[in-house]
């Protein structure tokens, strides 16, 4: 934890020049003893939800009790997300770099005793290679991390994001210093142009070209010009922007301040989804600390350049991730999009020239300035440069945040980094781009993940959600899921989206019940095209994508639903029955107790049976059975009731 005297000197200090920042960084680094032990507890959302706070408290107590402060006193600190969420809570011991996973509060004493006192690793907490079973002590040797190229996530996991000194010691704001001392606004814009950076929020518009457009608009319309960060990450299954804002807020601030310098902006806004309270807190703290050091606000680093930022919390509307809706929301209105025939760089927030970029795009800017456009352009592939952060989730062993060079293939990400599907079978499909994206089948597993290749196969980069599906996931169900999501999030302004998504979803509802004809499949495609062509904004304009791509790649599965009344994945309720395997059932009564319909009967220690007339296919028995005795059958068993009705 921070020593009081250092904390005081930090609040009193104001950095008067770029040289002063360099000096401050050196001072901070000099205060650090590289041999001093550090206990790092990951405070990413996944680890927190898995109990990281309790682990941290237990570690603190164990450290106190071990009386270690007489020897080299270990620092205990919390950081943003390390990425390997399925192994949380994560604890790393520096300087050795020992990586402990699935740590419990009850492990704290052993960690302190064995590792910090005796200097030995706690073997049972190390990650084991899934093939050889050998323990892998260090993070960088674990397959999940080995293939990654962590640049945007570079500082996350090693710095405490609530203490600006940690970030400064690790190099934060050096790009800003470089810009203020040796680069003209024109230099900055052309550097970003040259880097080839494209928007990480979804559409992939070249960032430099956007900034250039704003410069031209300013020539015509003058200032003010606004700089805005889109932190309204709403795609379900995507959380990389959240982790960047939480884990390295200064990277986002620095990127925005650099753009503000290049464009001559005095005010910027960060729009953050309200479901991300920690991101808001960390950004707030970061801004406050940057202001007190003279890195934000008036006369930044002693120059004439003044720029400040404000956070706008979202209020629960996915559509506000759309640029014009986001502006409307910052203006204090209901977040309805406006037709975009005039670009935001000309007419954005309050009708003024505005540069809106996504969190990850902003966090890339300092990297480009520090290392140069050529370095950046050398990473990735020609039209998609740099890296991309993905949240790898769903039916994959290693769930978490991964950062890879653009152009890495799907199969490398899912199988080498992600460790493949639990059970070892190949994945069935992967959904990229969230509700606006598409489902890519296993047969296209070698597709390089870059903007152009993904759109060629009917999907899109999107913000970076990557949801892996296996054979037990039904494409009709997934398409319905995304439509239902968007139906609920549609702002309702334009008719194709407001009415069309519901109608499209209702048609899929019918399919999931085994109703419908092949003609309906064609009609769905036609309605999908009408919604894409007719909708006002990108929400409606891309909403049919999950349906259209699943129809393209999994048409047979749709046809099985309507022609055979069969759901091959065993998901669609109306087409399945649950049945108890009489051999496997031990008669433990767990399912019978939990069944909300009291549909399960049978004596204790004797095989149970399900009354199909009472069963509502809620699936609780399947979920609760510890013996794998509950089976899903499709096509459904015809129940007695419906048999009677038929006869």
């Amino acid at each position: 934890m921070a020593e009081t005297n250092v904390a005081q000197s930090f609040t009193e200090r104001r950095l008067g020049s770029a040289a002063d920042l360099k000096l401050y960084q050196e001072e901070l680094l000099a205060q650090k003893d590289p041999q001093q032990a550090e206990v790092i507890v990951c405070y990413g959302t996944g680890c927190l939800a898995a109990g990281a706070e309790q682990v941290e408290a237990a570690l603190k107590e164990a450290l106190d009790q071990a009386g270690l402060d007489t020897k080299v006193r270990p620092l205990i600190k919390t950081t943003g997300c390390r990425g390997f969420c399925s192994r949380g809570p994560l604890v790393v011991i520096q300087p050795e770099g020992l990586f402990y996973q699935k740590v419990k509060a009850s492990d704290a004493e052993e960690i302190v005793q064995t590792t910090l006192v005796e200097g030995q690793p706690v073997e049972r907490l190390l990650y084991q290679d899934p093939q050889s079973g050998e323990p892998i002590p260090r993070e960088q040797d674990i397959p999940f991390y080995k293939k990654q190229h962590r640049l945007v996530l570079g500082r996350i996991g090693s710095v405490d994001p609530t203490d600006i000194r940690e970030s400064i010691a690790a190099g934060a704001y050096q790009a800003l210093a470089k810009v203020l001392t040796g680069m003209s606004p024109e230099d900055v814009v052309s550097e970003v142009e040259k880097s080839g950076l494209r928007g990480r929020g979804g559409a992939g518009f070249p960032t430099g070209r956007k900034w250039r457009g704003a410069l031209k608009a300013i020539e015509k319309k003058g200032r003010p010009v606004y700089v805005v960060c889109n932190g309204d990450e709403g795609d379900p299954g995507a959380f990389m922007d959240c982790m960047i804002m939480e884990g390295d807020p200064h990277a986002v601030l620095e990127g925005m301040i650099i753009a503000a310098y290049a464009l001559g902006s005095e005010q910027g806004y960060i729009y953050v989804r309200h479901e991300y309270p920690v991101a808001i807190k960390h950004l707030d703290l970061a801004m406050e600390q940057a202001r007190s050091l003279g890195l934000l606000g008036d006369n930044i680093l002693g120059s004439d350049f003044c720029f400040d930022l404000r956070i706008n919390r979202g209020a629960g509307a996915f559509v506000c991730g759309e640029s014009t809706a986001l502006f409307t929301s910052i203006e204090g209105l209901a977040g309805e999009p406006r037709p975009k025939y005039v670009r935001s760089v000309e007419e954005g927030l309050w009708g003024r020239p505005t540069v809106l970029n996504n969190v990850e795009s902003w966090a890339n800017v300092p990297l480009i300035i520090n290392n140069g456009a050529d370095w950046f352009a050398g990473i990735g592939v020609p039209h998609s440069t740099g890296t991309k952060v993905f949240s790898l989730v769903g039916k994959v062993n290693n769930v978490g945040l991964v950062e890879v060079p653009m152009g890495t293939s799907l199969v490398e990400i899912i199988e080498e980094i992600g460790g493949g599907v639990p059970g070892g079978e190949p994945f069935k499909a992967v959904q990229t781009g969230g509700p606006s994206g598409g489902c890519i089948p296993y047969s296209l597993k070698d597709v390089p993940v870059d903007y152009d290749s993904l759109s060629k196969v009917g999907s899109m980069m999107g913000s970076g959600g990557m949801i892996v599906m296996d054979e037990r996931d039904c494409v009709v169900d997934v398409a319905r899921y995304f439509l239902r999501f968007l139906e609920e999030e549609s702002c309702g302004k334009c008719i194709p989206c407001r009415l069309g998504l519901t109608r499209l979803r209702e048609m899929l509802d019918d399919f999931s019940k085994g109703k419908g004809t092949e003609k309906d499949v064609e009609e769905i495609e036609s309605l999908g095209e009408a919604i894409k062509d007719g909708s006002l904004c990108a929400l409606g304009g891309s909403a049919p994508n999950p349906v259209l791509t699943t129809l393209q790649y999994f048409r047979d599965e749709y046809l099985a639903h309507i022609n055979e009344r069969r759901c091959p994945a065993g998901i669609c309720k109306e087409l399945i029955s649950y049945q108890i395997d009489q051999e496997a059932c031990t008669g433990c009564r767990t399912c019978a107790r939990l069944c909300p319909q009291e549909a399960i009967s049978g004596e204790k220690k004797k095989p149970h049976t399900i009354d199909q007339d009472k069963c509502i296919q809620c699936g609780i028995c399947l979920e609760s059975c510890n013996f794998g005795a509950v089976q899903v059958i499709s096509p459904a068993l015809v129940s007695q009731k419906s048999q009677e009705a038929a006869s």
């Binding site: 037709p339 095209e529 007719g534």
Partner: protein
């Protein structure tokens, strides 16, 4: 003067015009519901879509807000355009079955009937928002607004109670393309009796 083509016919427009303005000048028919000269365009009914083409490239935009540019090639009745209109009208037939204007338009564009379920046979509001924009921009009282979001959106007053802000001018009824405001006016301004009670207070 800006020169471009609508349905292969050369047209001229003034800077600041929209494609719809130009089409109307030349008597080329494009259907609209949410458009009205008296208020700012909103672009939500999407009936006025047209297709822009340039070689292989093609895009569907709304004519009521698309600014004219030299060299545009606009098609007002292409297959893509017709597909959008057909679906909008078929959906509106089930959503607003009571509106004769919608029935007339549907017929005009060859939509005989709707496959979709009718939830409210009395419904005639298409939520184009002309009433709301008129109340705000022309009358200047903002008595009504959009309430709710998405599929739950309706036109209404705060708390769905008669509004003190309403001046009972009836402009909303005049601009309404489907006649839907006629039966809603009393909900907005209150029954004559309540209105007097209000002014007495």
């Amino acid at each position: 003067m800006i020169e471009f083509k609508i349905n292969d016919q050369p047209v001229e427009a003034q800077a600041g015009w929209t494609v719809l303005d130009t089409a109307r000048q030349y008597g080329i028919h494009i259907p609209t519901l949410c458009h009205h000269e008296a208020v700012e365009p909103s672009g939500n009914c999407r009936l006025c879509v047209v297709e822009l083409r340039d070689g292989d490239w093609s895009k569907v935009v709304i004519s009521c807000m698309y600014p004219v540019q030299d060299g545009l090639q606009v098609y007002t009745d292409s297959d893509r355009v017709k597909n959008v209109r057909r679906w909008i009208l078929e959906m509106l037939l089930s959503e607003c079955p009571a509106s004769s204007e919608i029935q007339r338009l549907a017929q005009e564009y060859g939509v005989e009937q709707t496959r979709f379920a009718i939830h409210d046979p009395e419904e005639d509001c298409i939520l184009c928002g002309l009433c709301v924009r008129t109340c705000k921009e022309v009358v200047g009282v903002s008595a009504i607004s959009m309430v709710g979001r998405g599929v739950h959106k309706v036109i209404g007053t705060p708390y769905m109670m008669p509004s003190d802000a309403c001046v009972a001018c009836g402009s909303c009824v005049t601009v309404c393309p489907t006649g839907a405001m006629r039966r809603r006016l009393d909900l907005v301004r209150g029954e004559p009796k309540t209105r007097m009670a209000h002014s007495a207070v």
